[in-house]
Each structure stands twice: as C-alpha cells, then as structure tokens.
C-alpha cells in the first residue's frame, strides 16, 4: 500500500530584508520549496515587520538584513520567546547580528544554498514542542481560564486571536499584570478582550512584559468584565446595537506605521525610520519629556506613561522612558464610503 503523503499544517513565516529584490526572490523561493505550505509575509524594514507582528500570528522570523546591527538587535529584542528567530547575513556580519537569534545562516549565493537555508529553517520550525495548550473560546470560557490560572498562582501569557486582531493577557504568580489588544493596553485592553465572542487562544510560557499596566486584583477584573458583559446583554435585549469595541475595530481600516524614532534622553538616535526632519523630532521629544518631567510632582498622578497626539489623519505616541524616548506615528486610511 502506498504511503499517503503527510500534509503538514501551514506555517506563517515573516522575512525581513531591506533589499526589496532579495525579499521578493527569497519569498518566492521559500513559497515554492514549501509547496505553498508556508504563508510568507514580507517586510522591508523593522517598522514594517513590527506592524505585521502586531497583527499576525507569525511562527518564524527570518531577518535577512544588511541594516545596522542596532536595528537587528532592536527587532530581535522586541520579539517574544515563543517566536523562532533566524538571521541570514554575510559571514563577516553574522557574529554581531546573530546575538539573540535561534539560528544564524550565511546568506546563500546560489539556488542550492537557498535550499540548504530552507532545510535549516524547517528544522528550526520543528525544533521544540510547543509548551502550553490551545483552545477555542466558544468551548472554554475565557474568564474560567483566567480564574484557573490565577487560582493556581501560575505565570503565563494568554494569547487571543479574533478575526484579524491579536491580544495578550500577562499573568504572573496568579496576578494579571498587563494586557494589550491592538493599540490599547491596561485594564481597557483586558476588558475589551473579555468581550470577544468566538476566536481562539493559546496559553504560552510566561515572559516579562515591557511594562506593567494592571494593578487591580483578578477578582475585581473578572467582576468588572462580568458587569460589562451583562450591560451588553441588556442592551441587546432592549434592541440597542450590541457591537463591542472589538467587533467594531475589526471592520475599521488598519492603521499604518508612518514614522518611528527611538533616541536616548541626551538625543543620541538609536533608531529612526521615515522621520521627515530627524533633528526637529529629536528636539521635540527631548523638550516634551523634559517639560513633562517637571510637571509630574505637581500633578500627583503617578508616572507619565505616554503622550498621545491626535492628528487629522492618524495619531502619534510619545513614550518617555528612563533609558530612551520613543516616538511612533501611524496614519489611518480614509474610511471607505458605505454602499
């Protein structure tokens, strides 16, 4: 009896290369070599890569970059531990750029070399048994799962996928410490994630988030979530729109990264992308951070997390931190007229 060919599940791979010709060539080659089992996403910059990672469930990131070491380090450092990371560069540059990656491969110069790289990436994808478990929201209640994790004093990350949006809830030693859902975070993100209907989740190994945005007890958070769900149900029964924020946002056009800057408080640029006037932006960040700092004791509102600037066609976020100042601007595509 002839053995049936095993059909492997589709893999989602992101390739980052600042050379667009190479990017297209490598993407096409891997697509063909995987017999279309790899869903290939491509990004020509770190900013594009971060935008894709924010919305897609990527398994493997291949950084085939000729960019400065700092850009590669920035991207590698911002990726979660569950993501497989490979760096493809010339042998001379590899030592510096591969720090933080799971695999370093030399940039091939022939089709045969590309096949070897592909084989190495396949091995990397199959390398470890995924930890945790997966589930579907319709079958297991998300509040039940959170309660279970908290009562067990576990540390984990709950990743939720709903249509095109990705959310994360961070639980450390049985306490919810951080949540993020698209561009929002904190309690608002937590409550938004708990209004989702349908979708899937994965429980992942815990890793420290970049910040802690939730201080309340899990009992309070789940109680508040239950109250909000009840309100939605009441509205539904009284005939009002039951659109939740999550559902509404899924139909909104996605924001697009337009500009990014990371610098130290002394003005040394660590990373920049598409800044129209770099010195002016750095000066702006420094001025705002310095003046805001002087206001903080007077306000008695705790630490400044961020400044959000609402713009006519999008928004910008400025985050002053002790070791760096971050500026990101996103544009919103014009809404399509409804027919």
């Amino acid at each position: 009896m002839a053995a049936e060919k095993e059909i492997k599940p589709e893999r989602r791979v992101l390739i980052v290369d600042d050379d667009r010709d190479d990017l297209a060539m490598v993407g096409d080659a891997f697509r063909a070599l995987s017999e279309n089992r790899w869903q290939i996403h491509t990004a020509a910059s770190v900013a594009e890569a971060l935008t894709i990672l924010a919305g897609e469930k990527i398994e493997l990131v291949l950084l085939a970059v000729n960019s400065p070491v700092l850009e590669v380090s920035l991207l590698l450092g911002s990726l979660g531990r569950h993501l497989k990371k490979a760096v493809m560069a010339s042998a001379a540059a590899g030592d510096q750029r591969a720090a933080g990656a799971d695999l370093f491969v030399e940039k091939p110069v022939s089709p045969e070399g590309l096949k070897s790289v592909f084989a190495g990436l396949c091995q990397l994808l199959d390398w470890t048994t995924p930890q945790g478990f997966q589930g579907v929201l319709r079958r297991v209640g998300l509040p039940d799962l959170i309660q279970m994790e908290c009562l067990g004093r576990n540390s984990s990350i709950l990743e939720l996928y709903h249509e095109h949006s990705l959310g994360r809830i961070y639980i450390e030693n049985g306490q919810v410490i951080h949540a993020v859902c698209g561009e929002i975070f904190g309690e608002r993100a937590f409550q938004k994630l708990l209004t989702l209907t349908g979708g899937t989740f994965e429980l992942r190994e815990f890793e420290l988030p970049s910040e802690r945005t939730i201080n309340r007890t899990w009992e309070f958070l789940l109680g508040e979530a239950a109250r909000q769900r009840e309100q939605l149900n009441l509205r539904a029964r009284s005939g009002e729109s039951t659109f939740t924020g999550a559902e509404a946002s899924s139909s909104e056009p996605a924001n697009r990264a337009a500009e990014m800057l990371v610098c130290t408080s002394t003005g040394a640029v660590l990373y920049h992308w598409q800044c129209p006037d770099l010195p002016a932006r750095v000066a702006l960040l420094q001025t705002v951070a310095r003046r805001a700092e002087s206001l903080i004791p007077e306000l008695q509102l705790g630490k400044l997390d961020r400044l959000e600037i609402q713009l006519p066609g999008g928004r910008a976020v400025l985050q002053p931190r002790a070791d760096r100042l971050v500026f990101v601007r996103v544009t919103r595509p014009p809404a399509q007229p409804q027919t």
Binding site: V288, A292, E298
Partner: protein
C-alpha cells in the same frame, strides 16, 4: 461665554470619573471645576497654562495636533486647543466613563460655536 456653552461645560463634572475640567477664553478669562481638596480652581488654571506651554512645541512642528492626551498612572489629562485659542483641560480617572468620553467631549468642544 455663551449661555449654551456654559450649560454644556457645567455638565462635565457630572460625568463619572471626571476629576477636574477647566476652560480658558482667548481673552484669558477662565472657568473651572474640580474637587476642592486635590484640584482647586487655581490649580486647574495653573495646569491649563502649563499644558498650553507644553502644547506649543507640538504645534510648531508639522504635526498639527487636534488634541493631546497625557496618560499617567492614575489619570488621563486631555488638552484641546481650538484654532481661535479657546483651551480645554480635562482630567479623568483611568478606565472610567469620563476616560472613555474624552474623545466625544473634545469633538463637542472643537465643534461648539464660540466667539
């Protein structure tokens, strides 16, 4: 200040979670509400001036902000400046009705017919 604007402004402190709010006219006249202990009128007026200074470097760039939101650990501070120089300052507790209403209130303020 127009009577209908006064009425609109007077409703703001009643929004649950609103800690303080203040408005300044182009001629410098000021009105504000806030809890007398933590945010007395003089303090809100002073804050309005300080945030107006913080807003200046932003308007001097290509950004043209419609409004700015300063997100602190225990509160969100919204600053709105109209092209005719009316200023609005709102201070809301996080995750409250007031925090969620900041955009709507800001849009109302920008659209209000004022002279």
């Amino acid at each position: 200040m127009k009577a209908d604007f006064k009425t609109w402004f007077a409703t703001l402190p009643a929004v649950p979670g609103m800690l303080a709010c203040g408005v300044r006219r182009p001629d410098g006249k000021y009105a504000g509400y806030g809890d007398e202990k933590n945010y007395p009128a003089e303090k809100i007026e002073k804050l309005l001036g300080r945030f107006s200074e913080l807003h200046e470097p932003l308007t001097a760039t290509d950004l043209s902000p419609r409004w700015t939101t300063w997100a602190f650990e225990y509160g969100q501070l919204r600053f709105v400046q109209r092209p005719d120089q009316w200023l609005l300052l709102l201070l809301a507790s996080p995750e409250t009705e007031a925090a969620h209403e900041l955009d709507r209130i800001s849009e109302d303020f920008l659209a209000h017919p004022l002279k």
